[in-house]
Symmetry: C2
Subunit: 192 residues, 2 copies
DNA sequence: GTGAAATTAGACCGATCGGTCTAATAATTT
DNA sequence: AAATTATTAGACCGATCGGTCTAATTTCAC
């Protein structure tokens, strides 16, 4: 992997493990085996740009999961179950140290970091849109609400999993997918 | 408010807004209007002890919510709705800058901070236990699973609310409470 | 092979980090 | 009033923070 990508990957990993503020540039550089010059060569915007790129790379990670897990499942229920499995695998591989970077950064971002907050929204938008499109393709009604509902429960489960160091909440989520898909999530006051 | 409590409150607020690592002692002291000596007088354990206390204070905040919102509602559904309202009020009061400190700190904590991770678990334990006891009092079955389920959805909704700066996910959660209470959350393989 | 561009290397910067320490002051006890 | 304790005050510490800058080196084009 080239230096630029290595920096992004290391940054992404550290952010998922301990957040944005606790991740120092020197630690990133040490793990990537690069000097400071390389960082500012590839990312003139410094730490913030690097973090934004790390968030963007999470989009690719999500896209990979969509591709591999949805292709192998014919039903919407199977597809969503696959996505949860994708997160379970990731969680176990990291020994429950890696959460969702979107959530982690979202909870750390504030009005002082508008660029970060926007990047967070963008990735979440992508996630919701991808899931919605998938659900629509599978013939679901109220797709966007269902997608949001699924992600909300997934994010909540990921936090619980992190706190108690167990994948149980995600395993439980898999059992609830059928309900999520069946529930009527269309807003009471029509939105579209 | 005395100096000690002021330090805890300021710390709790900053943590909820931007997390643990990004919250500096100097900022805490400036907002509390106290010198460094006071901090280490009351909290010899330094920043970590202060954060643990801030997390503990969140237990009190939760307990207040339980008291005020559950007393005023006779049904379990009404009680949980009240809790969600409690979070909505808090979120709006902070202009969507204050998340759940448990989640925020949980996503920032790792093996290097065992004391923090334990404090996070302790507050979450308290939360789950309180809700379980309430549900049992209201005659619910599968109380603990239902409590966990509710909290997971609340945490997920809080993240979404933070990202999009809207209380909509929490408003939606209120509409789902009836379903959460009705669903069978007892584990497939009995746990107790 | 030579010149230009891309990349690596790391010294250096001021600011801030969490933490320690001593002294002054305020409050309380006797 | 004197002695004791609790609290405030802030100078100071080494370490690290994110960031800048100049060279050295490597890569690549011609």
């Amino acid at each position: 992997m080239n230096s630029r990508d290595r920096l992004i990957q290391v940054t992404a990993r550290l952010i998922r493990e301990k957040g944005m503020a606790a991740t120092g540039l020197s630690e990133i550089l040490a793990l990537a085996g690069l000097p400071k010059g390389s960082l500012y060569h590839y990312f003139p915007g410094g730490k913030e740009e690097l973090i934004r790129e790390a968030l963007q790379s999470y989009k690719n990670w999500l896209a990979e999961g969509f591709k591999s897990k949805m292709k192998g499942n014919s039903t919407a229920e199977g597809g969503l179950t696959g996505i949860v499995d994708y997160f379970i695998e990731d969680l176990k591989a990291s020994q429950f140290t890696a959460g969702c970077p979107i959530a982690t950064v979202a909870l750390e971002s504030n009005a002082d970091l508008p660029g970060i907050a926007m990047a967070v929204r963008e990735v979440m938008d992508y996630w919701i849109a991808s899931l919605s499109a998938y659900l629509q393709y599978k013939g679901m009604a109220g797709k966007r609400c269902t997608a949001e509902e699924f992600i909300i429960q997934l994010e909540g489960a990921l936090i619980m999993a992190r706190i108690y160091q167990t994948s149980a909440p995600l395993e439980k989520l898999k059992l609830k997918i059928k309900n999520i898909l069946q529930d009527d999530h269309t807003p009471q006051i029509a939105k579209l």
